[in-house]
Subunit: 113 residues, 2 copies
DNA sequence: AATTATACATAATATATCTATGTATTAAAA
DNA sequence: TTTTAATACATAGATATATTATGTATAATT
């Protein structure tokens, strides 16, 4: 069982959201940001983060830019236009899904006339 | 890409919730119920539903009872005591996760002093 | 008579996570 | 000053859970 069984699917949404807020971010920065802003409730493992970024890049939602910081390599990502559209849509759809889930999980008992 | 990329992990929560509301339910009934109560926004495929029920049963959260309806077999499930505890906890944790997600997805910009 | 709904089940496939491991530089602590 | 922690990327292998497709069968509706 996963520690966070609901992260699956949500990670992509989180990434799209963060990237839509800032012009450029690199992987490690994103992982710090998610941990901070989630109150340490969500921790993205590297084995999930980097493949996810690569996927988004290969699908044309992100573009990457390698930057050399001293002797260390950093990879900055930015949303493409396609990525911006996808971010908006995906976040909206996530909200919609959550509304549906809350409907299901809040319903004490469905009307049985 | 899955049609509903956020269902993964949530199906278990949905099942635990429905089963905690009613004393006995069978698979097909559950799938109808979810479709109805979600406004057709969530459709559980049979390939996901039955294995999920079998998992919950094998893990001791559900007990099954075969019932013959005329010539047709029906399999009623009920929550065990362990399942009731798990349902409560799991639903609570799901809410907690959603709160965290909304925090992340609503934040316009984290405070940068 | 043919189609749809009910009712279960599983195999093959897809894919997104996790854990573990690897490489390497830089900063902080012991 | 040696060791540890933090920064920064990446990937292989294991695991979990969903999808699609297929199968069997009865009952109800068109």
């Amino acid at each position: 069982m996963y520690k966070n069984e609901w992260l699956k699917g949500s990670l992509r949404t989180i990434l799209l959201k963060l990237m839509s807020e800032r012009p450029r971010m690199y992987g490690y920065e994103i992982s710090r940001m998610v941990e901070k802003r989630s109150g340490s409730n969500i921790r993205i493992t590297e084995g999930a983060l980097y493949p996810a970024l690569h996927r988004l890049e290969s699908q044309g939602y992100l573009i990457a830019e390698r930057v050399q910081i001293g002797k260390r390599a950093r990879k900055y990502y930015s949303l493409t236009a396609k990525g911006q559209t996808e971010a908006q849509e995906n976040i909206e759809q996530y909200f919609s899904h959550v509304r549906t889930m809350l409907l299901l999980l809040s319903d004490k008992q469905s009307a049985t006339p």
